[in-house]
């Protein structure tokens, strides 16, 4: 893969065709999510549309279902888009196609903070809706800052050190989750679900929190795009065209960390999106972020929507029933993060094999 991106690239038209296609895909995914949502009732697009336009005539059940399902669909797509944007930035920043938001430590830091809070700190049930995301965001950005500070020890930000800190925090995360589960008085599966990322808890309140956070981060992201493109040319050229390399790196990293923290603090430690989504579109768009970013954001949205579709509709208990061991499996669905890992892993293997 080349990281040189020339402004006059004939890929422009192909990119916008792809973006249009992906956007249509996202709309279809939204409609499907409302149609075959959580629970057994099917709500056709016509009925869903009626419940919006004519709320007095629509059944209360349909209204509630449409509201919950659309929130979940939007949440899934927003999370996917945010993580894909972060992944696109990081892969360019490190000039390494295997970089992903997980290596910045932000994902793990956020999950650790939330898990510790859920296990020990959460006392009242009527706390503000934005409190948990705030803790997650603070934990994520704190860990990201720590990672950056340590990675900078040698003078310039060292990707390898960042990766190792990510791994280190990941191990620490697992220990902390283990300790929390072993010592907390109120054991609940929520804690465990949070480590792999779950979109079950989506409500419109939370969706607005996420969208608000992303809107706040948007100027930073837009500001970081040309900087990241410059860094992608290589340090020497970037310096040559008058870019403060260290500052640029810090800004790009901050942009990636902010969108990651916003997404992860609402749904937990979802992985693989940031790694895989940019690769799905890069062969068409090239590495220039001005084209890569919209396409990979939509691809990420679609990816998480697809995984969430599986998460809603696949009942592991039914599969176990088929093999005659149904009684031993809890009658629940698995969180979205599990399916993302299952979808992402083959892509990842394919990617690794294609690397020079």
């Amino acid at each position: 893969m080349t990281t040189t991106a020339l402004p006059a690239d004939p890929r422009g038209r192909r990119t916008w065709a792809l973006v249009a296609l992906l956007a249509v895909g996202c709309v279809v995914a939204f409609v499907v999510s409302v149609w075959w949502g959580t629970g057994s009732i099917r709500i056709s697009p016509v009925k869903a549309f009626e419940s919006w336009t004519d709320p007095d005539n629509a059944s209360r059940l349909a209204q509630v279902a449409v509201e919950a399902r659309s929130a979940r669909a939007v949440m899934a797509m927003a999370v996917g888009a945010a993580l894909a944007i972060a992944g696109s930035f990081l892969q360019l920043l490190y000039r390494n196609p295997l970089a992903s938001p997980e290596i910045t430590g932000v994902t793990q830091g956020s999950v650790v903070a939330v898990v510790v809070y859920l296990a020990y700190g959460s006392t009242s049930t009527d706390e503000a809706i934005w409190f948990l995301p705030l803790i997650g965001c603070a934990g994520g950005l704190g860990a990201g800052l720590l990672t950056w500070a340590i990675a900078r020890l040698g003078g310039r930000v060292d990707p390898l050190r960042m990766i190792l800190i990510g791994v280190l925090l990941g191990g620490l995360l697992f220990s902390v989750v283990g300790i929390a589960i072993l010592t907390t008085d109120e054991f609940s599966q929520d804690l465990i679900q949070w480590t792999v990322g779950s979109i079950q808890v989506a409500t419109w309140d939370r969706v607005w929190i996420l969208l608000g956070a992303l809107a706040i981060a948007a100027p930073l992201v837009l500001y970081a795009v040309p900087l990241a493109n410059g860094l992608g040319l290589g340090d020497d050229i970037a310096q040559g065209v008058g870019l403060g390399v260290n500052t640029a790196r810090a800004i790009v990293l901050l942009a990636a960390a902010t969108v990651t923290a916003a997404a992860v603090s609402l749904v937990g430690g979802i992985g693989f999106v940031g790694l895989v989504a940019p690769h799905l579109v890069r062969s068409r768009t090239g590495s220039d972020l001005r084209r890569l970013l919209p396409a990979s954001a939509l691809a990420g949205a679609l990816l998480v929507a697809a995984a969430d579709f599986a998460a809603r509709n696949v009942r592991p208990g039914d599969i176990a029933d088929f093999f005659g061991v149904g009684a031993d499996v809890a009658p629940t669905t698995l969180p979205t993060g599990v399916y993302l890992a299952l979808i992402g892993a083959p892509f990842f293997v394919h990617m690794l094999r294609r690397l020079p």
Binding site: P159, R161, L172, S175, I179, F272, L275, A330, L334, A341
Partner: protein
């Protein structure tokens, strides 16, 4: 002299290894004197560990406890020292030494300074099977947990190495290992989430494994790991000549009559024999295997595997004993799992070390 300076990278290995084999005598005196110092520190640490706890025992109590034929009725220090603290110290020493040896085996045979069982996904591979054994024991064919951890840990490590094309590019190995670890951890979590109400006990035993702790170690655990340890350690030292040859590069090694690929597979299996039984008993212990060989190379000022193996084993043992002492004693009467402490103690040290290495290995 800094560690990094004493740590020739892959390109310089040829020269240094050759020099070491030409002038072994002077080098051995250095290695052995350092080893003697480390052994003394280890002995002091071990004795300290035997005396400390709730309640503390005096040195004479420990002495009596160790040499009495059978524990005296009603003497608490006898039971504490013999049944609780001694096996724990022994397992910590054995596990640390094994990790130190395995680190050298992996790093030298793959010629990758970042090879480490944790980074290769071995711990998470073992974790997946432990999750299955804890929650759905009837689905897993009945073999000892150590054997299962060996099989699955090795499979995960081999997959990462194969995926990253024999681990030539260190950064790629770390990234591939990280993503494979995430995948395996996610699958383990999925198994946990599928547990029915009656199987909740299995969830707790899985997370007791995950946190990495020596708290549950007793003489049975010593018995479980001892055979592997007794087989693995001599074989590791027997492999030192092969390691030195592999350091020279594949062409030179095959010129000396070695089959590099076969040797690499054997050495990796050997590393797994050393590491995975301990993972099964005390859980994943991070970064010791990465860290100990580098320190050892820095101290011996050579990359000759014979020297590095000796010191790396001792340093690994020391690090794990310190981590476990901290875990057991710092917050008496409660205990923090040693896993946390190895992450906290060894992690930052490994980061500084690797940061220095990073300048050389980064693409």
């Amino acid at each position: 002299m800094s560690i990094a300076d004493a740590n020739p990278d892959v390109d310089e290995v040829d020269m240094t290894a050759g020099a070491a084999s030409r002038g072994p005598r002077r080098s051995w005196s250095r290695t052995l004197s350092i080893a003697a110092v480390v052994v003394m520190v280890l002995a002091a640490l071990a004795v300290f560990n035997l005396t400390q706890g709730e309640p503390d025992s005096s040195l004479s109590q420990v002495w009596h406890a160790l040499w009495r034929g059978s524990p005296e009725q009603g003497v608490i220090s006898d039971i504490l020292v013999r049944e609780v603290r001694l096996p724990r110290v022994i397992v910590a020493l054995m596990a640390g030494a094994s990790l130190g040896l395995a680190g050298v085996l992996l790093q030298d045979s793959l010629r990758n300074p970042l090879a480490d069982p944790t980074l290769l996904g071995v711990a998470q591979g073992a974790g997946l099977i432990v999750a299955l054994i804890s929650i759905y024991p009837e689905l897993v064919p009945n073999l000892p947990t150590t054997v299962w951890c060996f099989i699955c840990g090795t499979a995960a490590g081999a997959a990462v190495i194969a995926l990253s094309r024999r681990a030539r590019n260190p950064v790629r190995v770390v990234l591939a290992g990280a993503m494979v670890s995430v995948l395996l951890a996610t699958l383990s979590t999925a198994v946990v989430l599928l547990a029915t109400q009656e199987r909740t006990a299995g969830i707790f035993s899985y997370y007791r494994f995950v946190i990495g702790s020596l708290a549950a170690v007793n003489w049975d655990a010593v018995g479980v790991v001892l055979p592997w340890f007794v087989v693995g350690v001599p074989l590791a030292f027997a492999g030192s000549r092969t390691l030195n040859l592999l350091q020279l590069g594949d062409e030179a090694a095959s010129g000396m009559g070695l089959r590099p690929t076969r040797a690499r597979i054997v050495l990796m299996l050997l590393a797994m024999i050393l590491v995975t039984p301990f993972v099964a008993v005390i859980g994943p212990i991070g970064f010791v295997a990465l860290f100990a060989p580098h320190i050892s190379r820095g101290l011996t000022k050579t990359t000759d595997a014979r020297h590095v193996l000796v010191l790396s084993a001792l340093i690994g043992a020391g690090v794990l004993l310190v981590a476990d002492s901290a875990a057991r004693l710092l917050f008496l009467p409660t205990e923090v799992p040693a896993g946390i402490f190895t992450w906290i103690i060894v992690g930052p040290m490994a980061l500084v070390l690797v940061g220095r290495l990073g300048k050389r290995v980064a693409e």
